[in-house]
Symmetry: C2
Subunit: 337 residues, 2 copies
């Protein structure tokens, strides 16, 4: 049986109240007693029981993290950022993958029981009312890589600026006929990226016909299929901008298999900067998102929002609700550089 606070108190010749106080350095305790208690703690190898502490203090010192059930290095990076920030603040991490249909909202149950003091939701499909239901219980929520509005803080990559930079880079190469392979239709990310592209084109007196905007779904095959479709056009595009790297890489494959060269015949660029992008041939020019930082900031923010239930809302609104993290151009070979 592990030592309890009672054992420590007895061993140090003080009351449990005093032990508790030095452990949580709340009220003042005289240096002499403090040292006696600390010594006892060391000698007994005492570690406060997290349940008792949680029950008594109504705080778990734990951060909940929900991520999609997807095998993507992208998310791993976010987790690392969140974990570092949480550790930094003395918080533990409780992780749940997005529910498969069979266990829907499992994480909700989990976190709803008062297990976590705050939570970070990464790019997952949740309904606003679910989030608000949790927030209503006084558990701060922060979103990453996703935004639902409604006073829920969100950390996003600056898709618009990133996409603008990329488009300008392509125009700088002299390309005029651009094409876009979109991500899943309804995601704001993909829409933002397209909007930036069209804005830049317009500013240069150019435009992109609808036949050069083909749908994809961010996954492997869709990039390949989309590119095949673009290759059917009577006039081929000079450069293709894919909404993510995965699709860009598959588009390159489609182009190469059709006997054309990248970037000589058609330039291809992506978005995300996944590890693979520097390994494909030609190496992919893309946009790097500050994924780790996104997780880090989201976690810090979530923890900062922890506090008395009464003024959650107030604290929520104290800082900007949406934070756009810079997305930067990574120039490699596939753009023609």
């Amino acid at each position: 049986m592990a030592a309890t606070i009672f054992d420590v108190a007895k061993h140090a010749g003080v009351s449990i109240g005093t032990v508790s106080r030095v452990l949580n350095n709340k009220d003042r305790v005289s240096p002499a007693t403090r040292e006696r208690v600390l010594k006892a703690v060391r000698e007994l190898d005492y570690h406060a029981n997290a349940f008792a502490r949680g029950l008594a203090s109504q705080e778990s010192n734990t951060l909940g993290l929900v991520i999609p059930q997807v095998n993507d290095p992208f998310f791993f990076q976010i987790v690392r950022g969140v974990e570092d920030a949480a550790t930094d603040e003395g918080y533990s991490l409780l992780i749940a993958s997005q529910p498969r249909p069979a266990r829907e909202h499992r994480y909700l149950d989990l976190f709803r029981r008062g297990n976590v003091d705050a939570m970070v939701l990464v790019a997952i499909d949740v309904y606003i009312h679910e989030i608000q239901q949790i927030a209503a219980r006084g558990v701060p929520i922060v979103l990453a890589q996703q935004d639902v509005g409604k006073n829920i803080p969100a950390f996003l990559a600056d898709n618009y600026s990133g996409s603008r930079a990329m488009t300008e880079h392509l125009l700088g190469h002299g390309y005029r006929r651009l094409a876009y392979i979109a991500g899943t239709n309804y995601t704001p990310d993909s829409r933002e990226r397209l909007r930036a592209m069209q804005d830049v084109l317009a500013e240069h007196g150019l435009s992109m016909g609808p036949e050069y905007i083909v749908p994809g779904d961010y996954l492997q095959d869709s990039g390949y299929r989309a590119m095949l479709e673009l290759l059917q056009r009577p006039v081929l595009p000079e450069a293709v901008f894919a909404a993510n790297d995965q699709m860009a890489i598959d588009a390159i494959r489609a182009i190469q298999e059709s006997g054309l060269r990248v970037p000589e015949d058609i330039a291809v660029v992506g978005f995300d900067d996944i590890p693979m992008s520097s390994y494909v041939s030609p190496a992919l020019t893309t946009i790097q998102q500050p994924v780790y930082e996104m997780g880090w900031h989201a976690a810090k923010r979530a923890i900062a929002m922890i506090g008395p239930e009464e003024n959650v809302e107030e604290r929520t609104l104290a800082s900007p609700r949406v934070m756009l993290l810079p997305a930067s151009l990574v120039v490699r070979k596939s753009c023609g550089c």
Copy 2:
């Protein structure tokens, strides 16, 4: 304030003991009362407080997972396996990355406080005595991708068989002069893989000179450097077996940059089957490890070992201590197929 068991009891007109019993379906409760209680639970949207439950029952229903602080898809897969298994058993997951120097043994503290009922340690460097210290507190420990002996169950990939299969495959191609790019020297993985290779060669009356065994460290540059070294040999190897895919991919790059072709001039194969391996050119022939399964089995085993402190040891030894999961050959292009 969330509803407590007391609220439910009052609402259902029973005692809290009864509510607890229907919630944990331990002792028998008459169907009528059970239904009344369940109804109250639903109406009040009651969720048992995990701390109170943990404190009273001395169980956390949580599985601890420690993984290296490495950004590797490999570990992500393991986490998924562990998570699925844990969820399956009604357990939550508390995750800790391997401590950076500054926060050494942080996870130990974390888990030692009685936060977790069992733990899975993945490929991390811990000292045996630390593990035993935890085990001594009655917390079952299972290792994955690592083995320290001493009665601690371990789940490993069958490196020996996998490497044998690969070596035989290479010999089947007619290659006779093989080379090996080793992983970090002291890891048993790398040693096992090399041993299998040498055994197969010996069985065919062949051998590999020490000048064809070069050290690497599993990371990017080392594969490149190692290959450069191999390219200095007066007689070049016909096939190179790298201890992991990352190094194999970099070896390919080194070969190609030196003006030679893969696999025509030198064949290259790896171990792990990371996602990138099917994308490089030529696509990499490699060995696939059942990573997800490893996590899954390790978690299941750890949970199965939970129980009264007295007979932890007994339960530990009830099943085989070391489990080797099959590693299978994935044939692509880089071997010459």
